[in-house]
């Protein structure tokens, strides 16, 4: 256990100076904030036009925009963490840094476990920053509250927050599987460039073809990640927060969203540990 903690500290030390790790932690927040600012500028422009033509301006409920920015942040995080996971082990092997850890400190299994732990820590830090930072900016730019139409409260703030909470949970669940998938490619590939290209290529290819796969797509964890061609529940929540009351989650998809990432995670982890035992490092 001591050895694992020491190895994790050593990994964190390197990550502190790594551009890739900084990108994983900060880029989702920066993209989400950029999106919020662009929308706010658009809103200000519309309000100015309405004032000029004498129309009454209607304040926007910020929850919709906030959730949109979360979808953007999660999309970026999904791609970045998959790419960084795929790069991590292979790059260390190419550099030779892995050898020092293997000789001095950790077994091959521990090296993979420590990589996974570090990647989860980075994803967690990124998520916390994304949620907190985008929420703070949203509250600064708009009012957050219930959906009201013609004086009636269509959807209460509590209901919106419950759905956002569910959407966030469902978006977070596939992340460990995405990390394990990246690590597996990193362990198997011959070079960092090969594993990075494979990881991003396969992730984007699945994104493009997932709608063609129909129900089968539900068995792949990536179906539930917010993405460029987004079909995640978090994307639906943004519509709900804008007053669309037709947003309902399919029970079957909910179950698949909760359970399909786990076997994918375990499979990728198991294969990584198996391959790393015999890999020339």
């Amino acid at each position: 256990m001591n050895r694992l903690a020491t190895a994790l500290r050593a990994e964190v030390f390197i990550a502190r100076y790594s551009l890739g790790a900084r990108l994983v932690v900060l880029a989702p927040l920066l993209l989400a904030c950029a999106q919020l600012l662009i929308v706010a500028l658009g809103d200000a422009n519309t309000a100015a036009q309405q004032t000029l033509i004498g129309e009454e301006t209607v304040a926007t409920n910020g929850y919709g925009n906030w959730v949109d920015s979360l979808v953007t942040g999660f999309t970026a995080l999904g791609l970045l963490i998959t790419g960084y996971s795929a790069h991590s082990f292979a790059a260390d092997r190419e550099l030779g840094a892995l050898r020092h850890r293997l000789i001095r400190l950790s077994s091959r299994t521990q090296i993979v476990i420590v990589k996974l732990l570090l990647l989860h820590l980075l994803a967690l830090a990124s998520l916390l920053l994304l949620i907190l930072g985008s929420w703070l900016l949203s509250t600064a730019l708009w009012e957050l509250g219930p959906v009201i139409e013609d004086g009636y409260e269509l959807i209460s703030e509590g209901e919106i927050l419950d759905e956002i909470h569910l959407g966030l949970r469902l978006a977070v669940f596939p992340l460990p599987a995405a990390i394990a998938f990246g690590v597996l490619l990193s362990v198997v590939a011959q070079s960092a460039m090969q594993s990075l290209s494979l990881a991003l290529g396969l992730t984007l290819a699945f994104d493009v073809f997932k709608t063609s796969l129909g129900d089968m797509a539900g068995y792949v964890y990536a179906r539930f990640q917010p993405s460029l061609i987004d079909v995640s529940y978090l994307g639906d929540v943004a519509r709900l927060a804008r007053g669309y009351s037709d947003v309902l989650i399919d029970e079957r998809l909910l179950v698949l969203n909760l359970w399909s990432p786990l076997p994918a995670f375990l499979l990728c982890l198991g294969l990584s540990l198996f391959v790393v035992r015999t890999k020339n490092l």
Binding site: T6, A10, I14, L95, H100, I103, R104, Q110, N280
Partner: protein
């Protein structure tokens, strides 16, 4: 296994074989490195030196044979708690870190059991101590990528020395170093060996450097060890030569061929090459002068690792060629 030899040897390889595809890189390789020795592993390019080191370090799987490093199997080398370290041919350091950060990172790789709080364990060296030892203090804030190859190699060695290792494996440690750098590394190896009892296994093809620092030597050729032992033992078995320049070549050759303790006398343009067995150069000189043969020049060519290496590797290659022809 007998406990005594295990305690004496820091590395024991027995019958190790390694194959890449259909090519046998190591064939039934036996190698022992004694505790406190500076052991050189020499061989031609592609003879399997780096593969041998990688097998010792558990970085490559061997196909057969057994290995023990400080009593640990190569794949469990991490259990030696940093007592075994390696410096590779290419400095494997993170390019975007400064020298100080690189060494601080190396300090993170030292297991907690080895840190100063643990009693009875020699504490690791501090980052400043190692930088000063390797002459890296003025480069402390330089990024690794901006260092010259020589200084990167120094940083690699510093990286390895932080935890006070008992055994250091160096793969081609002199590559990329200027003459001053080589002298510094040689002096450092000698100091660490003398003052701290650190054992070394150096793989290199730069034979004169190895001869100046090693106490023991193994010659690797064609995937197996063709000679191994202390430097003195190995060189004793190798023949010393004497080059004699004289205007009376024919008489001198006839005389020396009859003299005791001489293996062979070969005539060249204006000189004789005399291979000595037990005869001393002074005795050869006296024999010539006493019969009135003038000696213009007498050069004693001592046995060197280089000549031994050439002798053994060419003999081995000849045998291999003969085998190939016979089959």
């Amino acid at each position: 296994m007998n406990a005594q030899p295990q305690a004496l040897n820091v590395i024991s390889l027995a019958g190790v074989s390694k194959r890449y595809g259909n090519v046998d890189v190591l064939r039934d390789l036996d190698l022992t490195v004694q505790r406190g020795a500076i052991h050189g592993l020499v061989g031609l390019n592609g003879s399997g030196k780096t593969t041998t080191l990688e097998c010792i370090l558990g970085l490559q799987q061997v196909h057969s044979g057994s290995a023990s490093i400080l009593g640990f199997e190569p794949r469990h080398l991490y259990r030696a708690e940093g007592d075994v370290v390696a410096v590779f041919d290419t400095p494997s350091l993170h390019a975007n870190l400064t020298v100080r950060q690189t060494l601080s990172h190396a300090a993170h790789l030292i297991p907690a059991q080895k840190k100063p709080s643990a009693s009875g364990v020699q504490p690791p060296r501090s980052v400043n101590e190692v930088m000063s030892l390797l002459g890296l203090s003025r480069y402390a804030s330089f990024k690794i990528r901006s260092l010259s190859l020589g200084n990167r190699r120094r940083a690699s060695i510093a990286h390895a020395l932080l935890g006070n290792p008992k055994l250091v494996l160096l793969d081609e440690p002199f590559n990329g170093l200027d003459a001053g750098g080589v002298d510094e590394v040689l002096a450092l190896i000698k100091t660490l060996n003398r003052d701290f009892g650190t054992s070394f296994l150096l793989s290199s093809h730069q034979l004169p450097y190895l001869q100046s620092v090693c106490s023991h030597l193994s010659i690797l050729h064609d995937g197996h060890i063709v000679a191994s032992g202390s430097l003195d033992e190995l060189l004793q078995g190798s023949d010393a030569k004497l080059i004699v320049r004289t205007p009376d070549i024919a008489r001198a050759q006839a005389l020396l061929e009859k003299l005791d303790g001489i293996l062979s006398v070969v005539s060249d343009t204006g000189s004789l090459t005399v291979t000595l067995a037990t005869a001393k150069p002074a005795a050869v000189n006296q024999a010539l002068v006493s019969v009135g043969i003038p000696v213009d020049e007498l050069v004693h060519v001592r046995a060197s690792v280089e000549s031994l290496f050439r002798e053994l590797t060419s003999a081995s290659t000849d045998k291999s060629n003969s085998r190939a022809i016979a089959s």
